[in-house]
């Protein structure tokens, strides 16, 4: 009994100290990060708040596909002419991807400052576009720098709405021990996965997992199921890393009307909305 009281007291002290300082480890800096040393909110869940970025780079390792730290090129986040990422397309959707990659890169919805969708907004180039998480017991909101995208994630595992179709879909989250699991559905079929015309459609369904592996790292995975685009489910894994404490979002308004579209080469087929 005494042991239990002491343990609860210790847990209380840990929560109290970590609730005040989400941006640094509650325990001594030299302590090895273990799940029990994670910063936590008063409700006991890991405190994911702060500014984060994709540390794994643009082309992330994907389970069940070719693995290894991606195909980073010296200039970082450029399209690399050559080796495509082996998404499990159907023959017809593979043709679509190859054709667009070669002929219609400006049909990329991001080329028109549209919302990137899920999981693309998480894999944004790490050197450029971080995202801010604010969290309480009811909501986790992610404010992405890229095109001021944002996702509000209710944490009550409530049902997805019907008759609702969005670029970022609809997100519903719940905790499985120390992992935040987010179910994302209700996509509108207008998003791509990257600049190489890899894409998803309205049948996309994503399950994200955010597992804090230390005060400054989150293991992120997105399992994507889209039966009309891919022959099987696939998973993307990234490491998210906390930005230094003094860094902030610098708003990326992106859309300022037509001033950028006019600079796209006409020969690239820059129709504003090719699908309408």
């Amino acid at each position: 009994m005494t042991g239990a009281i002491l343990w609860m007291a210790a847990l209380f002290a840990l929560r109290a100290s970590t609730a005040q300082s989400p941006e640094k480890s509650a325990t001594a800096p030299s302590a090895q990060s273990t799940p029990t040393n994670l910063p936590r909110l008063a409700d006991g869940h890991p405190n994911l708040q702060g500014l984060w970025h994709n540390e794994s780079g643009y082309r992330a390792a994907m389970k069940n596909l070719r693995g290894g730290g991606g195909l980073a090129v010296a200039l970082g986040d450029f399209h690399s002419a050559g080796v495509p990422l082996p998404f499990p397309y159907w023959p017809i959707t593979k043709q679509i991807q190859e054709y667009r990659d070669l002929h219609d890169p400006y049909h990329d919805p991001e080329a028109h400052c549209h919302i990137p969708g899920v999981p693309r907004e998480t894999e944004q180039p790490s050197s450029l576009f971080p995202f801010q998480i604010i969290q309480d017991e009811k909501y986790l909101v992610i404010l992405y720098e890229y095109a001021h995208d944002l996702r509000i994630i209710p944490l009550d595992d409530s049902a997805h709405p019907k008759g609702y179709w969005a670029w970022d879909g609809d997100s519903r989250g719940h905790w499985e021990r120390d992992t935040l699991v987010v179910d994302v559905a209700n996509f509108n079929g207008r998003t791509w996965l990257d600049m190489e015309a890899n894409f998803v459609d309205e049948n996309e369904h994503v399950v994200e997992r955010y597992t804090m592996t230390g005060a400054d790292t989150i293991a992120y995975s997105a399992t994507v199921d889209d039966p009309t685009v891919f022959t099987k489910t696939w998973t993307m894994e990234l490491e998210l890393k906390r930005n230094p404490a003094k860094e902030q979002i610098v708003y990326y308004d992106c859309h300022e009307g037509e001033r950028d579209v006019e600079h796209y080469p006409k020969s690239e087929g820059n129709a504003a909305n090719p699908h309408e």
């Binding site: 941006e23 008063a42 054709y99 001021h148 970022d168 003094k246 037509e258 087929g269 909305n273």
Partner: protein, 286 residues
């Protein structure tokens, strides 16, 4: 050691990313204006969390408007000057009147530009305040805009413009005071051509009056456009409907360059795919 020094010192050591130092004591609310003591977060700050919306039609014209299609007449929300008119410089007033004449095409909102501050506060769509110890953000339905309110001990970004400005907050009693700069000159204040230059400086004051009511005031200073600073005020109301949420608001650009909002509830928002037909179409258009 005065309170402000203590606040700054605490802020430096706790690397704040939000509003208000975590350890400074919350001051008593100003009894001259507000007697309501709201629920509070663990740091003693008033709990502003929730979905809020203005009920009036100031989005049409801050200075008030006549009754028009389906809408009652509405008075000015300008409370200072007392006559309810924005104190434009003479040349700026002419510009405002030109904007008004051209408002059907010249309003930046028509091109799906973000609304800016304070226009975003009194749009006909709701916004949501997210708040935790050390963090505060305002998320607007309109054009999926958001503002992160950082602690006022962090200097403003300088030499860059943001449609939604750059926000720094501090507390005066139970009132959240937000200092907004870097607003650029690409936004209007309403749909009637009321405007500003890139010298605009806004100070907002958010005060809870009751569990479901908030008072919002904004003082605007811009020496290029206004003869003196002026203030608007309105009430915001909590959306208490079960399941209320901020929905996605995105715009699509059509081939003619016109942008239009797409409702996520509109079946036309959903793009169905017939991949063979799409491939044929794209090849034929080359």
């Amino acid at each position: 050691m005065n309170k402000r020094f203590f606040i700054i010192l605490t802020a430096i050591f706790i690397a704040p990313a939000g509003v208000g130092p975590k350890s400074a004591p919350a001051a008593r609310s100003d009894p001259k204006t507000v007697s309501y003591s709201p629920p509070r977060l663990a740091d003693g700050r008033p709990d502003f969390r929730g979905i809020w919306q203005a009920r009036e039609t100031a989005y049409i014209n801050i200075e008030g408007h006549r009754a028009e299609a389906g809408l009652r007449a509405s008075p000015s929300i300008v409370v200072d000057p007392a006559d309810g008119r924005i104190p434009y410089l003479p040349g700026a007033l002419k510009q405002r009147d030109k904007n008004y004449e051209r408002r059907a095409t010249a309003d930046p909102a028509i091109n799906c530009f973000q609304a800016g501050v304070p226009r975003a506060t009194f749009l006909p769509t709701p916004f949501q305040i997210f708040q935790s110890v050390g963090h505060l953000a305002i998320v607007y339905t309109d054009n999926h805009s958001y503002r992160i309110v950082l602690d006022s001990s962090i200097p403003h970004d300088d030499g860059i413009d943001f449609f939604m400005g750059d926000s720094r907050g501090h507390w005066e009693g139970d009132t959240l005071v937000v200092d907004v700069t870097d607003l650029g000159d690409q936004t209007w204040l309403d749909a009637a051509g009321n405007y500003h230059s890139d010298q605009l400086h806004v100070v907002e004051r958010y005060t809870l009056l009751g569990p479901d009511t908030m008072k919002y005031e904004a003082t605007l200073a811009d020496a290029m456009v206004y003869a003196r600073p002026w203030t608007l005020r309105l009430l915001l109301y909590r959306d208490k409907k079960p399941g209320a949420q901020i929905v996605e608001d995105e715009c699509i650009d059509q081939a003619d360059g016109v942008w239009h909002h797409v409702s996520p509830f509109d079946p036309k928002a959903l793009l169905h795919h017939d991949y063979q037909a799409e491939l044929n179409r794209e090849k034929n258009s080359q």
